[in-house]
Symmetry: C2
Subunit: 513 residues, 2 copies
Amino acid sequence: MKIAHHSPEVQSYFTALLERLGEVNDLRSAADLLGWDQTTYMPPGGAAARARQLATLQRLAHEKFIAPAIGHLLDKLEKVVEELPPDDDAAALVRVTRRDYERLQRIPSAFTAQITTHIADSYEAWAQARPANDFARLAPYLEKTLALSHAFADFFPGYTHVADPLINLSDYGMTVATVQPLLRELRTHLQPIVKAISAQPAIDDRCLTQAFPEKAQWDFGVQIIQQFGYDFQRGRQDKTHHPFMTKFSLNDVRITTRFSEAYLAEGLFSTLHEAGHALYEMGINPAFERTPLADGASAGVHESQSRLWENQVGRSLAFWQHYYPQLQATFPEQLGKIDLATFYRAINVVRPSLIRTDADEVTYNLHIIIRFELELALLEGKLAVRDLPAAWDELYDTTLGVSASDYRDGVLQDVHWFSGLIGGAFQGYTLGNIMAAQFYAKALQTHPTIPAEIADGHFATLHQWLRTNIYQHGNKFTTADLVQRVTGTPLTLQPYLHYLHNKYGAIYNLALS
Amino acid sequence: MKIAHHSPEVQSYFTALLERLGEVNDLRSAADLLGWDQTTYMPPGGAAARARQLATLQRLAHEKFIAPAIGHLLDKLEKVVEELPPDDDAAALVRVTRRDYERLQRIPSAFTAQITTHIADSYEAWAQARPANDFARLAPYLEKTLALSHAFADFFPGYTHVADPLINLSDYGMTVATVQPLLRELRTHLQPIVKAISAQPAIDDRCLTQAFPEKAQWDFGVQIIQQFGYDFQRGRQDKTHHPFMTKFSLNDVRITTRFSEAYLAEGLFSTLHEAGHALYEMGINPAFERTPLADGASAGVHESQSRLWENQVGRSLAFWQHYYPQLQATFPEQLGKIDLATFYRAINVVRPSLIRTDADEVTYNLHIIIRFELELALLEGKLAVRDLPAAWDELYDTTLGVSASDYRDGVLQDVHWFSGLIGGAFQGYTLGNIMAAQFYAKALQTHPTIPAEIADGHFATLHQWLRTNIYQHGNKFTTADLVQRVTGTPLTLQPYLHYLHNKYGAIYNLALS
């Protein structure tokens, strides 16, 4: 990156800033690799030392980032970038760096180290206690996580809601005041859809629950994501218990997946989902490498890209018009006699269930809204950790009409509260679903041929539109600015509701609105 | 670790030292993981960023280690540990840390950066020029490496031989004055053995060059090293082009291997060799974790452990009395009709050859001695880089009676001079072979039942003896001190010669002495 300024002094400030940010980025990337290894290949014995190593790297990255020298360089450069257009890259870098700098300045590095160590312990405990269905063992970890979450928020006095600083961590610029009404409004729309669908004859999706050998599933998914544009020269896929995307540079963007040999949809859509995250990172402007701009704009925008590829593309009829004959050829015994319409309905079945990650497009957001409300209740002190399982079960009963027989499939199902702070962990998923529809609607409006191209197995027009409008910008714009810039309107529920009504109205023979 | 001292002030110095050393250790371990990933799983696109990340971690580890604060803590603690017995752990930590501190202090970080960059360039050039058989292209890199090696040595004025500071890097305490006579004496013993064997009928080892499916080789090797005591809860095995052992903590000690489906001995003995390195690290006193004591004592001592498990154990008749029936059951078509005696002779065939890494136990050291003499001649200015290929070929002719038809299998075969300094790169291999025999002889003297146990597939007595006498001490003693302590005598050729004479005398029906 360069700064458009003729003064050698200003150039040297900018170069010095890049050098310091690069060092921080190297430390963070190393920490990310340690984290990737931890969940993919690390032997169990490595856990204790790995937690210490991660803590050291994160502490050093933190110390280096909040060094006064960076503050001084920002002071010098801010005066210069005021004269530049707001979407100038250098101006964006200074702006985003200042934002992160001010935030991290407030968090003592001892506190960061404390969080890192606690989270590592907490994750290990969860990994052992969840299979044992042992909430009691995990309650003290959650208590401490909650205390640390409060302590974190308190470094940002002046917040409106205690969750706001935590939400800011993953979805910068969002607040309880903006997110909660949106989620609650969405709930009022989703519940009637779920109710109407539940009154219809159930879809038969037994074709998905046959024996599907893993190797064939792996190869089928890999072939698709390569056609999406995922580049195995710049990434790889491994297996983990919980699939994720991670990157160590813009040319090393990895995904993980998991398979069930008894359920086809799990591995397939997990692969498409994580590939969507990866396409975003792989598409960031290479000039942003090693800077804070070389990241997604927010958890929500990131999720919009994984969801767009997984759902708007990967669960569409057009997509399977192309791929279903190939899938049948891959699994002739299992799917040879199942027609496309049956398969398409099976992968889009709407059925209230216990597990978030298995949920369909319609009920998924209700899982998120439950968690979001529980996070707020915990943070507001209205809910004690010991009462969390009961509150969880009650909300599942009233919102989705289902109840878990154990903690494994209930309150312990997600890793989030055991691998990060409480507050801000979940809203990004639903914000992502909403934005995916809003972005995709805009892409279709600009290029109405996209569905026809997808039906031919071509994704280049869509991928290029996403690269041009979203991916290349990385973390340059805030979520709100990006949505406005790309779609011409602020974040809105309408395209998402329109998408759900159309798609599920057709699938379930309902007039939804 | 604790220090046996009643003053809280001294305790606090010691704790502060441990904390600083722990931070350095975390950075180095992270760098090691980045290196492991680079050769196992990293996609090609990741290379450029990975080089930057490694450089950053190594620079920070260096800066942190030579911080004046560590010097001050050592000053304070040295007065205290003088009163402690020399084999006290805390005393050893202070002693070893001082040694490393003084060495690293002398090397300016700009010089380290220069070496790092040159080595990276040099390695890239070698990787391209070796297949092209292009020595001329690499000569300028070697010239520069030689100049840097001299410059390195000059940071340690007062050396007796210019190679001494370089040898110290991998085999602390060894010098040209101690190593060269030993290697030359060994040569005078090896050459008659090779000559006598060459006059005997050649051993038929074609049983090893059949088709051996990789998966079966992998499983067979894994089963053996688990019986050695390699703990897959505290390690793992992956595939790389060049096998190695690496560790990220004492509870995460990994090995890599490679297989040839056309040659059984390659993967099998590579696995046993690397497992030997790993058993050493896995056996280090857990109290040494995160300190400079949590390492092998030297390249030579490390190699003694890989060689002991690979050769003294893994190429012994007793070992195959137990495992050969299992190997035959694994590969019935290939080995079902080959008897144990034939197989045992095949894996111990002695045959002068061009490639060091393929060499047998007897000729292997002659490859090392050639390289060691060439390194010294280059450093002494008696040999110019341009004359190196001719000198190489001449030594191979006079020492082993073989000559390479190209540079690929001659002077360019090893990565060492293109991935590190010249001087000190090779002697550890032969020191390791010598020590392996000396240690093993002592173990057998103490526990004469070891060969019988091995013939039953039991390794616990040997493993425990190695743990007690060698492994647990880690880097606490110098090579010379450790050998004296374990065997009661200084480093000596006699046990090694005795081993070779007995073993190969029996195999080749010769009276060797």
